[in-house]
Every structure is written in C-alpha cells, then in structure tokens.
Symmetry: C2
Subunit: 709 residues, 2 copies
C-alpha cells in the first residue's frame, strides 16, 4: 500500500520554508511561495538564477501504517540530481543521477512521525567550464537544456521530480515483471518469457485485446501474434499480462513487433566508386518487415519544470501528434527522459520513439566519474524503457559529432552506450548520434542567407537519407504575445527586452527567431504587430508544408522527416515549434497536419517567390505512405487576385501502398494582376486536395494604377 506524504521545502541558505509539491521541482515551489509570478511573464525567469547554487531539503513527518509481516519502503521513480536521504538528520542513502529509481527498505530505520528528509545538492556545474551554458553540464547526466538554449531560458530545476512515496510491502509483493519475446522470422509465433522479481510464487496470464487468455506461466508460446503497428500503418495492438501472488497484482502489456534500421533504397550506390554504409547511415525504419516513412517531430521537454508534467499533458500532446498523422517523435537528448506515462501513451497511440540519452552538443569527456554515472543512468533508462513497443531505437545524443561538440567514434561515452544497448536491448537499433553522414540537421529559417535559397529550393537541392531536424520559425497570435510581453514592449518589437529574452532576437545570430529580415524580403512592411504575425505565420505554414512534402517526394532514398520541434516548454515570442506553450496548436500545426496526410496530391514548386511574366511551373505528385492503394483525379488551378486559371487535369491511376507517383508538370506564364500572393490549388476528392499560397509580385505600373484609382 502506498502512503503519499505531505512535504515541506526548505531553502538551506536562508531557512525559508514552504509547501513542496511531489512530484515537482523545488525551485518552482519556492517561487510560488515567494509570489514571483508566472515564469512565462516578462523577465520573471531571471529570478531563478539566484537559486542555482542552493541546496534544499524536502521534509516530512513519516505517515504510514505497517501491518505485521509487512516491510516499509521509501520509493522514488526519480530525484533530480545529487541527493541524500536522511532520517532524523542521519544520512541513510546517497545517489547522483535522476533517472535511477530508489527503493529503500526503511523497516528497521523509520517509525511513524520520524523526520524523513531528502537533501538536494546544488546543481552540478563542471569546474572550469568557460561559460554559463550547457558546457557546465558536460560531466553529469542532467538534461543540458536547462542550462540555456536558443529556445529555452536558463532555469535549472531539481527535486523530487517523479512519483515518490512510502510503501508497505507484504511478502507477496511483486517488485517487477518484465516480458521479453522472440518473434519467428515469419511472424507466425512469439516465444514469450517473463522475468520476475518477487519472493513469492507468481502466476502470469497473457490476454489478447479482447480479454481472451492466450498463455500462462513464465514462458509461453503465442501462435500467430497480432502485431503492433505504428500510427498510419495499422493498429498498435497490445496484449495485456497480469501477474498475481496471494496478495499482490501487477499488470502490463506486450506489443509484438520487429524493428530495424536499414539502408535506404539506392544508398548503397553512393558514392559510386567505393560505396560505404558510413556515407549514408542506415536510417530507414523497417517495421515488421515493411519499410515505412518516418514522419514526425522533435519532442522536447513540454515544461521548464519537468517535475510538474502530468499524464494529461502528455496525453493531449500525443493525441495532437496522432491527429497530425505523425508516426514518430525524436526525443531529443538535450531534454532528458520522460515520466513513464509518456511511453505508455505512445505505446497505445502507435507513436514510435527515437530515444536519445541525455547528451547534447557537448564533448562528454570519458572521465572515470562520468563513465560511472553514465553507466548507472543509461542502464536504468534502458531497463525502464525497453519494455515499451513504441521505443523504436536508441541514440547516444544530439549533434555529438559536430564541430562544436567534438566527440568521435573513439569517445568512450558513446562506445559505452553502444555496449550497454547491446547488452541490455540488443534487438533495438543504436545510433551514436544525429546527424551522421547522409543525414541532415537544418535549415531552420525560411530563407537561407548562405545558400541564397528559400526552403523550397534548399530541400529540392538536398539529397539526404533522413531529415531529422529542420524548422521554419513563426510567431504566435497577438493575444498570446500580449499574455507575456508587457504592452509597452509589444510594438515595435526590439532587442534587449522581453522579445529577445523570449527568443525573438539574438537566439542564434541577430535575427532569429523572429527573422524580420526574411519577412521584409517578401514584402512585409513591419507596419504593425498584426502584419508581422500574419507574415511570419504564412511563411511558417508554407515553409513547413514545402519541406515535409519534399522529403516525402524524396522517398525511398529519404526515410525520415522530423521537424524541429514539436512543442515548447514556455511562452516563446518566436520559434520553430508547432505547438505553443502550454498546448496551443499554431497555424503551422494545421499546415503540417495537411502535409502529413497518409495520401495527398502534392506540388513540387521550384521556389516560393514569383512575379508577373515568370514561367510558373510545378510537378504534380500523388504521395502515399498509407498501407493502401490510392488514386484520384486532380485539377490544378492557380488563383491570382480573384481570378482562377485552370492549369491541368491529371488522373493518377492506382498508386500502391507506401509508394509515390510523379505526374505531369504544369507550365504557365504568370499574368499581370494586381495582387501580392497567389494560390495553387490541387482539387481532388477523398481529402487528397492541397493548396499553396505563394508570393506574387505585380509590375510597378499595375501597382501604381491601383494607387491612382
């Protein structure tokens, strides 16, 4: 039986005492008690800087009732980051690492009413780190994102961030049951084996989704198992197991599936002279023998204070991703590991997870201390998550082979992770990092100054086996902006204040993420906040559609399109996410949802920016990554200034499951019309229609005529 405790927090430097939420983060509790106001508002987040080197206590007077023969445990699923557990001031346990659960037998140490405390040490900061940034976290397993990123404020949380309670256990208590299985090569059967951690005899039954028992015992043979499929390819079918002793019961589930990372079709031929699988990493996902196109988003922490994330938060995000036809989240290494509910929900939703260990953009030197903590934490993560069918693959972390990180194949940390994944979870793929050769991270803006290309051009010129980060920034609606930017600063937006602190300027170079220079390039006069917002959202929508659809057209050489990023952990003034904090879909979300429909007519438009007299052209495609044949007629219509021009009719004919077909190209000399935009519509039935609103520039004399009227 579990006994939740009422906890108080103490800031040790001044003895300030306050109510603490568990699970939660101690800094957030403190701020609430001090009435610091919403961390999202203005520059409030900067107040947390003062707490970075503090130590904290969680204290409670133990409340529980022990029956004869029972034992008492202190249990926590995670304590962030270095901590001691004390009873009446005596340390009974110490640990470094927030992903390794704690289960302490306190039967002989604790009595009801005793003072139970958890001391949280100051945040780790590597001595000698040159700046106050992520490099301070390069010798610990704390998510580096909270040390500051180009989309995340520097606010470092700690504390009892996951479920924590006292638990009384009978002799029949089941500590853990974990299922393992081997699928027959032809999927005709599964050999299931349960590992059980309990002192009493345990009976296990496996049920199908209809509740029929299909097997009993610690080992069972399941004939013709129903397979688990990801969203869009089939049902994420789960079997349920139940384990019982005389006085305990645990349950869980199994999703039978086989997953591999294979070379993209065509990738073995590149480069021609001496083909190497290192030139283009194997990044095409094969699920149950079927090559699928992985489409989705980079998942980051949805809260600055991960301790405050609830299952409901996860559930709403995952439902939105599923509705957007996504089948994968890349769980970005900078943000750490989620609570269990996240993985359970993804299992049920059929959302594949690319899970990164908590390393990002640093050179994690293989010191003995670091390797020890890494082994402990990575092993805990592997043991916690390997039972989830949604977990598709492991990855060492984010951008570790890039110049600013400086790691290589020889880095002991990555060799250790490869080793642990092999030992503890051999059948799941492991990538050392992302990107590898042949994969792309970026671009992140609508127009690339270095390449002198817009995103339409950039991605049509690109040839990669996986796009695992790319983004187009946008800004949220005016009323949202005014919820955290003081009215005096709202317009004009300028550097140095709240806009900048919320990533509109200087996040990466001068202009990002608001990118006023790009908006101006396409005619925005920056005359009002409304105009800026409308322009930024237009570019974000059209840019994201262009990239996602181009990546899909590049199938089968390309196997993944995963944008940067899904959501944001606080209110940003501008960035690349599809969902505003806390869970508000941006216009770009709906554009991406359109681009990711299982089947759609798509136009490959050479560029975004057109003017009268140009020869407009576009290839028509029918994209199909559904497991069914699709077909349809389509009509291509260009609308400029209220006039519609019929360009083409195409009857696609049947297009097989998980294949694309290229159709004819339209060619059309653009007329002189008084307009600033034009819209290409591909009109079909069955939800296959698409439309693209592009920049159009009329000649001077047409525009001046208008002004004279």
């Amino acid at each position: 039986m579990r006994f939740e405790q009422k906890w108080q927090g103490v800031r040790l430097s001044d003895g300030f005492r306050f109510d603490a939420r568990v699970p939660g983060n101690i800094q957030s509790d403190y701020a609430r008690a001090q009435n610091w106001g919403d961390v999202n508002y203005g520059l409030n987040f900067q107040k947390f800087k003062a707490l970075e080197d503090d130590a904290w206590l969680y204290e409670t007077r133990a409340q529980y009732h022990l029956e004869p023969g029972e034992r008492l445990y202190f249990v926590s699923q995670g304590i962030d980051y270095r901590f001691d557990i004390l009873i009446d001031g005596e340390i009974v346990f110490s640990q470094e690492g927030m992903f390794t659960p704690v289960a302490l037998d306190l039967t002989d140490k604790l009595a009801p009413g005793d003072l139970l405390a958890v001391k949280i040490h100051p945040h780790p900061k590597r001595a000698g780190a040159p700046h106050e940034d992520r490099q301070q976290a390069d010798q610990c397993l704390k998510p580096p994102v909270s040390y500051g990123w180009d989309w995340h404020p520097r606010v470092i949380p700690s504390g009892l961030w996951d479920e924590t309670y006292l638990e009384t256990r009978t002799s029949g208590f089941i500590r853990d049951v974990e299922p393992f299985y081997e699928l027959a090569e032809d999927y005709s059967a599964a050999e299931v084996r349960f590992e059980v951690d309990a002192d009493a005899p345990v009976e296990i039954t496996l049920y199908d989704a209809e509740g029929q028992a299909v097997g009993q015992g610690r080992e069972m043979h399941v004939r013709h198992p129903r397979l688990w499929w990801c969203n869009g390819q089939g049902e994420p079918y789960l079997y349920r197991w139940e384990a019982r002793t005389a006085d305990d019961r645990k349950e869980g589930y199994i999703g039978f599936r086989r997953i591999r990372l294979v070379m993209a079709q065509g990738a073995w031929a590149e480069p021609a002279g001496f083909p190497k699988s290192r030139s283009a990493a194997p990044t095409t996902l094969e699920l149950n023998g079927r090559r699928i196109f992985a489409k989705g988003s980079n998942w980051v922490n949805p809260e600055i204070f991960p301790g405050e994330i609830t299952p409901e938060t996860y559930a709403r995000h995952i439902a939105l991703a599923k509705e957007a036809h996504m089948n994968i989240f890349r769980c970005w290494g900078g943000s750490g590991i989620n609570k269990r509910a996240f993985y359970d929900l993804c299992d049920r939703a059929g959302l594949l997870l690319w899970v990164e260990f908590p390393l990002a953009c640093n050179d994690y030197a293989g010191t003995p201390h670091y390797l020890k903590i890494l082994e402990q934490e990575a092993s805990s993560i592997l043991r916690r998550l390997r039972r989830h069918p949604s977990v598709a693959m492991w990855c060492g972390g984010n951008e570790l082979f890039n110049g600013w990180s400086g790691m290589t194949d020889q880095s002991l940390a990555l060799r250790l992770l490869n080793k642990l994944c092999y030992e503890l979870d051999r059948d799941r793929p492991f990538l050392m990092t992302s990107p590898l050769c042949g994969m792309a991270h970026g671009g992140y803006t609508f127009y690339d100054d270095a390449a002198q290309m817009d995103v339409f051009q950039l991605f049509q010129h690109s040839k990669h086996v996986a796009y695992t980060e790319f983004g187009v920034p946008g800004t949220p609606d005016e009323d949202y902006l005014s919820s955290f930017i003081p009215e005096s600063e709202l317009f004009p937006m300028e550097r140095g204040g709240v806009w900048e602190a919320h990533h509109a300027f200087g996040a990466w170079g001068e202009a990002r993420w608001l990118c006023l220079d790009v908006l101006k390039r396409y005619g925005c006069r920056l005359s009002s906040l409304a105009e800026v917002v409308e322009y930024a959202q237009w570019l974000q929508c059209e840019g994201y559609k262009a990239i996602f659809e181009e990546a899909r057209r590049q199938r089968p050489l390309c196997g993944m399109a995963i944008n940067w990023c899904w959501c944001e952990p606080w209110k940003t003034a501008a960035n690349n996410s599809l969902i505003s904090y806390p869970i508000l879909p941006k216009k770009a979300y709906f554009a991406v949802r359109d681009a990711l429909r299982p089947a759609l007519f798509s136009a490959r438009i050479p560029r975004f920016d057109w003017k009268s007299g140009d020869l407009f052209s576009a290839e028509l495609w029918l994209l199909n990554d559904s497991p069914e044949t699709v077909s349809g007629p389509v009509r291509a219509v260009l609308e400029i200034g209220g006039t519609e021009y019929e360009l083409l009719n195409w009857q696609s004919g049947p297009v097989a499951a998980n294949e694309n077909r290229i159709g004819p190209s339209v060619n059309f000399r653009l007329p002189e019309v008084n307009a600033q935009r034009m819209t290409l519509r591909l009109i079909s039935s069955d939800g296959l229609s698409s439309s693209y609103t592009l920049k159009y520039t009329a000649p001077e004399h047409v525009l001046s005529r208008q002004m004279n009227v």
Copy 2:
C-alpha cells in the same frame, strides 16, 4: 614440464596414415606424404581442392611422466577449426574456433600409452553460399582468405596450427600473469597491477631494461617510467617482470605508452557547413602525446599454411620492415591472428600493430551461433594480445561497410566487437572497419583507367586523412618466375595457365596484376620476359615512391600511409607486395625504404609521363617525420640521355621534428634528346638525397635520326 608428442595424421575418408607436424597443417602433411610437390609450383595447389570436405585425425600414444602431486594437462594454443579431443575413442572435449586456447586437465582420464587423438572436422562452409569463395566463411571465425582471394589461391588449411603438448603441473604452477597499468596524465608515474592465475602464492618483481628492480608485489607504483616508442620516434623500451612460486617461474614485459586515435589537424573544418567527425574518421595516431605519421604496410599471412610459420619467419619480416623505417603493420582481417612470437617481436622492434578481427569483405549476419563463436574468439584474441604494447588499435575487419559486404553500424557482429573491446581493453582505440569516410582504399594500379590518371596524379588529387590500402603491382625477377612457371609457359605470358593461376591475369578484371596494358602505355613492346619484368619493376618502384611521399606531404591532414601489401604467402607472378615468397625483398621494397626514410628531400612531380617541349615542373619538399630537427642544402639536377641539367639550389633551413617544409619549384622546358627516360635527382648530404626516373618521349625526328645513324 612439457612433453612434446609424436603425432600421426589420418585422412578419415580413406584411412591413409602419415606423419604430422605439430604445429602445422594437416593438408600440408598429407600432401608431403603423397609427394604432391611444392604447392607453389605450377598448378599443384589445385590438388588441395579434393581435401576440403575431409575430416582428419591427429593420433599419438601419450608420452609423459607424472610425479606425485602433479596434474597432467593437454594444452594447445590453437586448433583449426572445429575439433574433438578423444582418449581411446571417447570424446572428452569439443570446440569450434581456432583462436581460443585449450588447457584440459586429463590427470584422471589419460595414462601413458593411451591413444590421444584430435579429430578435425571438415572446413566450415555456410550452407547456401552462392559461390565457392569467401562467402562460405561468413558464419565462422576462420580467416576467409584461404577460401580464395585475388592474391591468394584457394587452399584451406586446418589442424594443430599452434603449440600443442602435454604438460605436467605442480601445485605451484602459474597459469597466467597479466600486467595492467595506468599512466599519470603527465607520464610522471605508472600504477601497475598484476592479475595472477595460480593456486600458490606468487612473488612478482619488475625490472628495468638494465636489470634494476623497480617494484615488487601485485601492485606497484613506478615513478618516471621510461616510455615505449615506435620505430623512428624513440626506443621501444620494455620493463621485464618475473613471477615466481616455489616451483614455477613466468616472465613477461611491460611497455608503458598511451595511444589514441585523434582527428587530423584541419579535419574538424570539413565539410564547412556542418562539420562532423564521421566525415573524416579520427585516424591520426597520438603516441605518448605526440602525433605521429603512421607509415607501413598491410600484413597478411606469410604462408598458405599458417601452422608452418616459425618465429624465424616473423623475425626476418619484422627486421626488414624496421629497416624500411616502417612503424606500423595493419594486420589485415582476412588473414586471421598470428602466433605469439609475432607480437613479441613487434613489441621489441617498435612496430605498431593495427589488429583486425578475422572478418573481411563479407556480411557477417548476426545469427545466435555466429555471435556466440565471435564472442568466444574475439574475447580470446583480446585477452591474448592486449598485453602487447605494439598492439595500437583494434578494428572490426576489412571493408565491411563497402557495398560488396553490406554491413552497417547496426550490424550486431560489429556492435559486439565494440562491446568486447570496451570491456576487455577500454583504452585501445576501436574502429568498426576500414575504410571509413575520409579514409581511402586504393588505387591498386600504376594507371587508373576510370580516373584517367597515373598514381602521381591520382594521389595529388586525393585528400584523405588516411591511406590504409594502396598498391602498385610488379612482377618478380625472371629466375624467380621460372622457379614455379614451367619453361614452356614462361613467354609469351598468357591467360588460362600458370600465369593466371598465380594472379598475373584476371585476378581483378582482365589485366591484373601483370597489367600489360599499363606497361604498353609507357612504351613497353612486350618483346621479351626481361623487358616486361624490367618495365613492371620500374613502374612499381616509381609508383610506390610517388604515393608514399605524396601521403607524407599531405601531413598533417593525412596521418597514415599503409600500402597493400607487405608480403605474399606463396609465389605470385604479379602483385602489389614488397616481399616475394618466402622472404625475398623486391626492388619495390628498396624504393619504399627510400621513400620512408625519417627525413628526405622529396619532389612533387605532377605526372609520370613527359615529352620533349613540355614545361617540366616539380615542387621540392623536405619531409621530416623524425623526432629531430633536420636541414640541408639540396641541388636539383635533371638527367636526360646522359646530359645533366642543373635546375635549382635550395637551402632548406631547420625543419622541426615531425614537420615538413615546402621549398621552391623547378621549372624547365624539356629539350629534344634521344632518350626514353629521364631522372630527376635531388642531391644532398646525410642520406637526404632522392631520385625519380620518369618516362620521357623524344620527338619522332630525333628517334628516326638515331635509327639512321
């Protein structure tokens, strides 16, 4: 005490009985008994095809004497490949794998005079392999080279290939002692630890090379250890340890050094946009903190029958490599692992070893059986070799990421090897295979048809961090050729006979390795064997010099130049090796020895082929990969048809240790002279001089004038 046995061999299919040499290979013994003649001669090797699916027995009547209290062991350092050990017909032990030693306690099973036998099973051949080639070996740990290669006949050996004997052991017997050490970051001390496998107390003393004791016990602190250096960089200093019990003594040595694979200087900057350490693998060797240029050769099996290799064979090869200023052998994976003497000799010679596991050019599928044998054999190899300071790095095998192999980062076999190397030998670098991105294998001919470049041009256009295979073929002297080619076939050389069987034709494409097309390109009339030999040797010498010196000039971006290959296991009619079988240095050996001198003046000549009227040019360089400063004056002289033209004098000034300096370029309009070759000489003192003999073509009228005289 060891008791060598007298063994007889039995071919089980026909009961034929013969004397067997131990160590040795059973097929070679059988051939000797049947008077098959020298395997090198003519087509004799083809007779071995008939033995491939045979099983064999080694038999002996046990000869030993056991004192009271002693135990009797059967010991073998290696039995090739799948075998049973029998006493009077009863199987007492079985094993698959030739690199895992056997030590069987037979005290209670064997009596003097009993029939002790080792049954050798037929060679493993993977069922379903499409051809009779290396693919038959892709589910076993047998060196694939013996299944046939473009320089190796198909002759598959097996048997008691390494030391095998009966041994009586007292209770004080020392089974093993292995030293481990940790060097202080600044090399000021070493913490040494001995792992001991013995039942009695063992006393250990460590001595320096002068015989002074520097420490005692199982753990010791060595202050200011003398470091082990590779050939050319310092002394390969070895400490000697001695371990004693009351009635046994073992000794060994330690070479203190730290070795790492680091990114080449400049490699982080490539590609400019998004630098990745996967674009150019870390392949610069850093020994004791000093970046060194690795120069050497690919080591292959020096005998078709590895069981017959003696320590003397190894010693003569290693001495030649050392004299040629080499500091590394890449022990190519196709050939397997050597006997212990090889590593001992390399330790003493300061020859670094790049050691590959026995995988090459196949897709080793990660079946449960294969992974089990791989783990057993790789672990044995690691435990045997990790004590050798010469072993610089591990590598998964040869060309596994290339198209014809089909392995990737996801291949379980390579992930397992990474894991084992990390667990058992963490501080040695591990590469999954060679080449990786940024590294080059090839070219292998003097003129590359596809690139339309000679090797001078090809390598000057190349930009790699490591050249780990490249070759220029040549042919041995006439009298050597006539030692294995019947006189009737000697000239003209033609396809279909002994020339082809010995790799002169059709080894890889039509023309290799004799490459008559290339010889003709440079004016060889193919008029006599003598002319062909002279031409082929000229091109091999000049080609090898050009490549090795160009690779050195590309330092520091380039860190390795390792040619294909050092020696050959039988008499070839043409190939890329520097040493003919058994141990005869080719002319190319001496050319390479010149090109690898620690310091030399070197000319960067744009191409090999010149004609009168051409503007001849060449950059002068002083190459220095010695640990000392060098300098010198140099005079560049071009000699054509007996006339010498003075081109340039250059005073280099002091060039620091392990650095190169570019000097001036010569420019010279080539005169009309009646000659077919010309020689550029860089004349200096102190052994820094070099010379290059190039192709020169006189104009028609000069040649006809000559003919008229």
